[in-house]
């Protein structure tokens, strides 16, 4: 069974149709990259997958491990193993990273009928993941994302992903705002997470990220449709020719 099956997906936000018939199948172990120009609907796709409110599915279907994703609340999708690394991680003042992460881990464990982790079990786990992302342990006691630099926020997202061990990880512009060193660290963290049981969807504007996280498939999203799909070489071609090139292709017709 496919991990994720998107069929003819149409999505409306504030009465504007943003996604106009997306088809995409992602199998366990695969890494897919969704690329596209600004306003093409990349982030909308990521938000829809995470079940953001007000993103209305007007047509089509999303199956996540065979279950209808549209029927799930955001927290249910999360507990089923869907993780979104946010483009703009939000700050939660007064709540420490450690407290938040443990609450998240235990919410997922509870959903699966597993025992909750106490602080003693949890701390070694999270510290190990933080070392992987080269984040200081002091971040555990700081309020969630508060006062973090852009790069620290993005690394914090990947720490969360590593701790939560999702089945499907959607990374929304995780590379934006990262300098080259941070990009390498984040990529290393993501690559460590690649496994035959886990799938990933990388949403990105630039090809740069794909030098470090090499995808199995690249899809080009333009104006709410996937206009081209291919292997990693497609990303290089895009870098070379720009998005305008895909728009002139016949596949992208019908505008």
């Amino acid at each position: 069974m496919s991990m994720l099956e998107i069929k003819d997906l149409h999505v409306r936000v504030d009465n504007n149709e943003i996604l106009k018939g997306i088809n995409l199948t992602v199998n366990p172990g695969e890494v897919h990259s969704i690329m596209g120009p600004n306003g093409s609907g990349k982030s909308t796709l990521a938000q829809v997958l995470a079940r953001r409110e007000n993103y209305e599915i007007t047509k089509g279907q999303i199956l996540f491990n065979g279950k209808d994703l549209a029927e799930m609340k955001p927290e249910e999708a999360a507990c089923e193993g869907l993780f979104l690394a946010f483009q703009y991680p939000v700050e939660i003042p007064g709540i420490s990273n450690a407290y938040f992460l443990r609450a998240a881990v235990n919410a997922v464990r509870k959903y699966r009928g597993e025992d909750e982790l106490d602080a003693m079990d949890f701390l070694p786990l999270v510290k190990e993941k933080m070392r992987l992302l080269e984040m200081d342990e002091r971040f555990l006691n700081r309020p969630v994302n508060e006062g973090f630099s852009g790069g620290e926020k993005k690394r914090n997202e990947i720490v969360q992903m590593a701790v939560l061990e999702p089945k499907l990880a959607v990374l929304d512009e995780t590379d934006s705002g990262l300098d080259i060193d941070a990009l390498k660290i984040v990529s290393k963290g993501v690559n460590t997470m690649r496994s035959p049981n886990r799938a990933m969807v990388l949403v990105t504007h630039y090809q740069r990220l794909l030098n470090y996280i090499v995808p199995d498939y690249v899809h080009v999203l333009v104006n709410g449709r996937i206009v081209k799909s291919g292997g990693p070489e497609l990303a290089l071609e895009l870098e070379d020719k720009g998005y305008a090139w895909t728009e002139s292709e016949p596949v992208g017709a019908g505008r």
Partner: protein, 484 residues
């Protein structure tokens, strides 16, 4: 957007402390006159000085009432109160003599048990001594003997008047005189009980002291008075809690609290106020018009107020500090929540008189539903207060788009060496924040509760350990249904 609509759609869970206990009451007829004051004083078998003081207060209040001088400056709206339509004294008939719990009406004991405040010896809260005030009188005080071993007096106000008249005479009205304001005058005339604490020189009170106020009788006002005196080098931590039954008509609660801290003494006063807030349309609920003030009389003394205000239809209170002694410290930490049609106008006054005095104000206002939440604070640095310092932080959080947050800070500085800091913020609870937490597997309700608790953290950490947890729960319950 959908979230906000959902917020409005969801109905509130019921106020779970809203039950009524069937007890036989000894109550006065409605109405207030000199005779009422005399009867209350006589019922309490008070010495002459008390009656005199009450009568002076009554006469003063009567002139204010005649002049319609009830304070109107607060940012709250309510129909005029008919002071002749209130019962000023109501007590359970089976009046215990306060030496034995056996004499307390078992219904009253059960009430406190139901509220989670067991009074019977075998079930008492460990490490917390409780004074239980039921309508107009104190029905029981626990751990009294144990406290008296170290010289701490913890008893009902009535008892203090009988057994420690000198202390009462010395300190009563010394911080909040009956001329202070309309409600303070009213309280001084008719107050029927309350708690009294005296911590002698050099004694650190070995346990938390607490008073649990319960309004039960209908049409009754509760007017209690608390007086806490910490002698030189003494310290004490005191907590009060309050609940009332669900009733359609409003009930008046006009209390006065006076704190006195001498040299090197410290008093920590915490409140978890959960009076019945009225229903979701604003029907019923307690008018909580309270005057609380502490005097840092001695040098290096410290008074700290922490309040979590979730109940009452209307809250009007400004726990304040008079920083008279050099190097004295005043603190005010507040969480005030208004949901549905609740209104709160609350804050503090810090009056710096002594040298190198410092004060901290941290106020967190949360508004939901149609709630209106006002912070009103005054920091006054007098001429002689060289080196005074104040830090004020005042944050408001809005849930939904039909509530309001208002801030009125007054700052008056007469000494150029003082240092003042003021920070303020207003934010809406973010759908982004809620979604972020949900995306990590946390339910919407827990997400909101987590965000609110984070917002209030600076205040909660000032509460005594065992009550901080209670306060967090209370906040979640008070907000239940305000977010979908």
């Amino acid at each position: 957007m959908t979230t906000i609509n959902q917020i409005q759609d969801l109905t509130d869970k019921e106020y779970k402390w809203g039950f009524v206990t069937p007890v036989e009451e000894d109550r006065l007829p409605k109405g207030l006159s000199e005779d009422t004051v005399r009867v209350i004083s006589a019922k309490k078998n008070e010495p002459e000085f008390m009656l005199e003081w009450r009568l002076k207060a009554y006469r003063y209040w009567a002139t204010l009432e005649a002049d319609q001088a009830e304070p109107k400056w607060a940012n709250v709206k309510y129909p005029a109160i008919n002071y002749q339509d209130i019962v000023y004294y109501s007590a359970p008939k089976k009046k215990p003599n306060l030496t034995s719990l056996d004499e307390v009406d078992p219904e009253v004991l059960r009430t406190y048990e139901k509220l989670g405040i067991p009074l019977l010896e075998q079930q008492r809260l460990a490490g917390v001594a409780v004074d239980a005030v039921f309508d107009s009188v104190s029905v029981a005080t626990t751990f009294k003997d144990k406290l008296s071993e170290v010289g701490v007096i913890f008893c009902s106000f009535s008892e203090a008047v009988q057994n420690h008249p000198d202390l009462v005479k010395k300190y009563l009205g010394s911080v909040v005189p009956y001329t202070d304001n309309f409600f303070a005058a009213l309280n001084a005339a008719v107050f029927s009980d309350g708690s009294f604490v005296y911590v002698p020189k050099g004694v650190r009170c070995p346990m938390e002291l607490s008073t649990y106020f319960r309004i039960n009788a209908a049409e009754t006002g509760q007017f209690e008075r608390t007086l806490i005196v910490a002698e030189e080098g003494a310290s004490v931590s005191y907590l009060e809690g309050c609940t009332a039954p669900i009733r359609d008509e409003n009930q008046l609660h006009a209390a006065v609290v006076e704190l006195v801290a001498l040299d090197n003494a410290s008093i920590k006063y915490s409140t978890v106020q959960n009076w019945y807030p009225g229903d979701k349309d604003g029907k019923g609920g307690i008018y909580n018009f309270v005057t609380k003030r502490g005097k840092c009389l001695g040098k290096n003394s410290r008074i700290s107020w922490t309040q979590v205000e979730t109940g009452s239809a209307i809250t009007w209170k400004y726990p304040s500090c008079i920083l008279q002694g050099d190097n004295s410290v005043g603190e005010f930490y507040s969480v005030a929540l208004t949901n549905n049609r609740q209104q709160a106008d609350t804050g503090t006054k810090m009056i710096h008189i002594g040298k190198n005095t410092s004060s901290t104000i941290v106020s967190k206002g949360i508004s939901a539903g149609f709630g209106q939440n006002t912070y009103r604070g005054m920091v006054k640095i007098l001429k002689g207060a060289t080196g005074a310092r104040n830090y004020t932080q005042c944050d408001s959080l809005l849930i939904g788009d039909k509530c309001g947050a208002h801030t009125f800070p007054y700052i008056e500085v007469k000494n150029p060496t003082s240092r003042m800091e003021h920070e303020a913020s207003t934010s809406k609870i973010g759908e982004d924040q809620i979604f972020y937490l949900q995306q990590r597997g946390i339910s919407k309700e827990e997400a909101v509760s987590m965000i609110i608790n984070g917002f209030c953290k600076q205040v909660f950490r000032e509460l005594p350990m065992e009550f901080a947890v209670e306060a967090q729960k209370l906040l979640s319950i008070s907000l239940e249904g305000s977010v979908g």
